[in-house]
Symmetry: C3
C-alpha cells in the first residue's frame, strides 16, 4: 500500500507524536487508576481530588511495575503497589518509604493533558510543543455546553487494525451503501459522486442526495420512516486524531420544518502499530435527548452497525500483516479523499522525522515495526 | 532432520506449488463462501449456480478485505462486503458500484480447480501448467461411482504440524501397533518386515500378516471378532498430496468367502508451513454401506483413533519448532519408505526452484520460513 | 537494568547450567511420566519400580515425539508412544520393536538427579561436574526428618517472569509492607533499615523489629492476634536456585515461651527465559502440624498472598519485554541485597561462558534470547 509515501507503513503506520489525541471519555477518569496503551506507550490515568486528569507513563522507575495496579493517595499522588513509592502529577517521586533521600532519576514521564469537550486529551510528543489551542474547537461540532445540541458520549470500541485504516474507512463514505446496507443510507451514497475539498491539513468529502429514510436508517437518525429528506453528508478529517461526520437534513415536503443536523465526532487513537481505540460521540440539534433505556438501545443499534467496520478493518489488517508491501491496493475515484489523507499524514510524519528522541525522563515504548 | 536434502526444511517444508491439492470435500462447497488457507494462501471457495466450484485468492484488490466475508451474487460472482465490488470466476472485477470504468489491475487470482472423486482440487502454482490428467485416477481406489465400493467422505481433521510429518506417519506403518494399539492390527505389523517399492514418484510400503481380528480392530474394519484373516496392508504415496492405504483381507478358514478390500485415500494438504488439513475418506467392497447413526459411530471411532496421530504429529512439530536442524532424527529399517519419500519430495521441490514468481495478478501468501 | 553486568539480560537472564535445581516435589514423581520445562529444556520425569527418580530429555531420538506422552514399562524403562522404542534410565534405547540392532545414536540425554529433602533435584549442565554435596544441606532449614520441625510442601506456582525477578523479590523484603500489606508484617519492615551480609555466593538480608501480630499476619504465622513479638526476619539466597526466608519470634511479654522459628525454603527454577517455577515449602518448630482442611486453608491463604508477587513479577516482566535495556531501574538503599545478588549471578554465569556445548547426546533447548 501507498508505495512511495514516506512514513506510511503497510498496516503499521505510526501516529505522529507531536499531536493531541483523545485518550479517554471524561467520565472514564476518576480516582481509580485506568491503564491504556496509546501510540505504543502504556499510560496510567487518574483524576486528582481537585479534579484534574493526570496521564503518566505506567511504569515505576524503581522496578518497572505498572503504577496502574496501585492506587491514588493523598489526593493527587499515585502509589506503586510493589514498594510504596509515590509520584505526583508531574511524574516526580515524592516518597520512598525506606529512606529520606529520593534519587533524582526516580521520575516517570508526565504527558501534557487537557480536558475539553467531554474528552481527555494527551500530547504524546515533545512536551514543550504542547499547545492546547491546537485541539480542534468542538463548538463547530455541537459539543460545547451552550450550543443547543444534545450530546452523547456513545462508546469506545477497540479495533485490531492500524488507525490509518479506520480514518480511511471514515473518509471512504461509499462503503455505507454496502457494509452498512439499510442502516446509514437508502443505497444512494455509493452511486453519488462525492466532492472532495482540501483545506490545509483538513480534507472534507461531501455528497448531496435526496432520499427516503426507512427501517434501520430511520432508527439510527431518529427520523420518521417514510420521510423524504434532502441530505448533505460530510466527512471531515482533522489528522491525525479526529474525524467528524456531519449530516444535514432538510425536508422538501414540509418546508416549515427546521433543518436537522447531527455531528458525529470520532476520535481515532492509535493503541499499537496494529490496533486502535475508536471513541464515538455525537450531538444532535433535533428530537429529544435520549436517556436510560432509549439511549442504551440507540447505542446498541449503532454499536452493532459499527461492528461491521471493525470486522472490515480487522480483515484488512490481517491481509496487510500477511502480505506487507505486496498487499493489493487499487484505488477508484471514490477514494480520492482517502488517498489525499495519506499525503497529509505523510507530511505530518515527515515533519517529526528523525523521530522524537527518548530523553532520560521519557519512557517511550516503540512497538517493533 | 534430513540434513543435506534441499528444500526439506526442519518442520517447515513447503508444499510444491505446481501440483493438485484437495482443498475441500465436494459437499463442503455451496453458494455460501468458504474460507480456507492452502499452502499459506488464503482462498475463498464457492459454487456457481451452474454447479462449478470456484477458488479465488481471498482478498479484494481494492482494500484487501476478505471476499469470503461477502456473498455470491448474480449466480456466479462474489461481492466484496466492504464497497460492493464484484468478481467473476476468473477473478476479474466486473462491477465497481461508484463508477463505470473498472481499473485493469482490479483482479484477484483464480486458482485452476477441478471436482473429481467427491473432492475439489486446486492447482496452487503456474496456471498454464495445470493439467487435470495429473489428478490420480481414483477408480484405482474404489472412489468412482460405478465400481461397487461403498464410499464415505469421512472427515476433515486439522493438524498443527507440517504435512511432511503426516505423510511420513502414513508411510511409517509400524506405528499402528503402538500408537493405535488394538485398533488397527493385532500387534503383528511392527514386528513384520515391510517390502518397499519405488515407482517413479510413488512409493509403496506393504506387509503381509496372518492374524485374528478382535475388539477395536474388528469394529474399525467391520469384520466379525475372532475371524482369522490373511491380510495385505499397503500404504502408497502420490506425492505431494495423496496417500492411499489399502487393506486386502482373505479368509483362510472360509475359502469361499470373497476377499474384502478397503481403500482409504488420505489427502494431506499443507495449510501453513506448520499446519495441514487431513482429508480422510474410504471405500469398501464388502459389508453394508452404513448410514445415519451407524456411520456416525464408525466415524467417531476412527476420528478418535486418528486423534492420536494428530497428538503425535503435533508433539513432533513442537520439537522441530524448538530445535530446528538440531532435532534428533535417527532412522531405522522400517523407515525406509519414509526416507525415500523425503527424496521424492526433495526432487519435486527442486524442480520448481527458483520459486514460482509472483505475477502482478497473483496474490500469493508466503508464510515466513 | 543492570547495564554492564555480563550475562544478566534484561528480563531474559538464563539460569547457570552447572547447578542443581529443584524440578519437582518428591510426591509429584511416580510411575506416570511428568513433563516439565526446566531452563528451556523439556524433560520427562518418572519413578522406577525401585523408587529412583529419572529425569530424561523429553524427546525420542527417532522422530522427536515427547516421551512423556508414553508410559513406563518393565519397571524402569519409558516407552515412546509412537513406535514403541524403549529407553532405560541412562537414556539409552534398549528396544526397537521392528529390528534387533539398535542404532548407537538412539539415545536421549539423562540428567543427573537426586532426591533430597522431599524435593527432586536435577543437574542441568555437564554431567561430569554433578556433585550431590553441592545441594544445600536442608538440615539448616528444618527440612530433615529428625529435626523436630513440621514440614509442608506447600505448592508450586507458575510465574510468567524471569527467575531473576523472583529472586530479587525475595531479597527485596521491604515490599511486604506494601504488596502484602497486613499479611506478612505490621507495616514496620519497609521502614526498618536492613543489614546485608555476603558470604561467598550467599547473600543474607535481615531486619529486627518489635511489633504486634494481628489479622492476616497472625493467621499466616499461626500466632495469636495481639501477641507482641521480637522478630528477626532473614532472607538468604543460595544462587541460582534457592532462597530461604526465616522468621524467628521471641515473646517479650512471656519470657518463658520458647522462641518460635519458621523456615520457608523457596526453589526458584527457570522454566524458560521469561518464566519460572516457584516451589514453596515451609517448616515450623512451633504449633501443631496442620492436616487436611486446616492445612488446605492455610495453603490457600498463603497462595492468595503470593499471587500478588506473581502479579508484580509479571507486570515487571511485561515492562522488560517491551523496553529491554531501556527499562527504568533505579535502585535505593533497601535494594542492596538484590543488587549484590545480580553480581553473584553474573559471576556464576561468567564461570560457564562460553556456554556448555551441545554434545551429540545432549538435547539442549535454548529459547532464543
Amino acid at each position: 500500500m501507498v508505495a512511495g509515501l514516506a512514513g506510511i507503513a503497510p498496516g503499521r503506520t505510526k501516529g505522529p507524536r507531536n499531536a493531541w489525541y483523545v485518550v479517554a471519555f471524561s467520565d472514564e477518569i476518576a480516582e481509580k487508576p485506568l491503564a491504556r496503551t496509546i501510540l505504543g506507550d502504556r499510560v496510567v490515568m487518574y483524576r486528582t481530588s481537585s479534579g484534574k486528569p493526570v496521564v503518566l507513563a505506567d511504569r515505576c522507575p524503581h522496578r518497572a511495575m505498572a503504577l496502574s495496579q496501585g492506587k491514588v493517595v493523598h489526593g493527587d499522588r499515585i502509589q506503586c503497589p510493589y514498594h510504596g513509592m509515590e509520584y505526583d502529577p508531574t511524574g516526580a517521586c515524592v516518597l520512598v518509604p525506606s529512606q529520606v533521600q529520593i534519587p533524582r532519576q526516580m521520575r516517570t514521564h508526565s504527558y501534557p493533558s487537557a480536558e475539553r469537550w467531554r474528552w481527555v486529551w494527551a500530547w504524546m510528543g515533545d512536551a514543550a510543543a504542547a499547545d492546547e489551542s491546537l485541539i480542534p474547537d468542538h463548538r463547530l461540532f455541537g459539543l460545547a455546553d451552550d450550543d443547543g445540541f444534545h450530546k452523547v458520549a456513545r462508546f469506545l470500541m477497540h479495533i485490531n487494525g492500524n488507525y490509518q485504516f479506520l480514518h480511511e474507512n471514515l473518509l471512504d463514505v461509499s462503503h455505507i451503501s454496502f457494509l452498512h446496507e439499510g442502516f446509514l443510507d437508502s443505497g444512494l451514497i455509493a452511486k453519488t459522486p462525492p466532492k472532495t475539498e482540501v483545506q490545509g491539513d483538513r480534507i472534507i468529502i461531501s455528497r448531496r442526495v435526496t432520499e427516503v429514510v426507512s427501517g434501520g436508517y430511520a432508527r439510527v437518525f431518529g427520523l420518521e420512516p417514510g420521510t423524504r429528506v434532502e441530505r448533505e453528508l460530510r466527512s471531515e478529517v482533522w489528522s491525525p486524531n479526529l474525524n467528524v461526520v456531519t449530516n444535514y437534513f432538510s425536508f422538501p415536503d414540509d418546508p416549515a420544518r427546521p433543518a436537522a443536523c447531527r455531528h458525529s465526532p470520532f476520535a481515532v487513537t492509535p493503541e499499537t502499530d496494529t490496533s486502535c481505540h475508536y471513541f464515538v460521540a455525537s450531538a444532535s440539534n433535533y428530537g429529544e435527548a435520549q436517556q436510560g433505556d432509549a439511549l442504551a438501545q440507540t447505542n446498541k443499534l449503532i454499536w452493532d452497525v459499527f461492528l461491521t467496520d471493525k470486522e472490515a478493518i480487522e480483515s484488512v489488517q490481517r491481509s496487510y500483516l500477511e502480505l506487507g508491501e505486496r498487499t493489493p491496493d487499487v484505488s477508484v475515484k471514490a477514494d480520492e479523499a482517502a488517498v489525499r489523507f495519506r499525503r497529509v499524514l505523510e507530511q505530518q510524519l515527515l515533519r517529526e522525522a528523525p523521530a522524537v528522541p527518548d530523553s532520560a525522563g521519557r519512557l517511550q515504548v516503540t512497538v517493533a515495526g
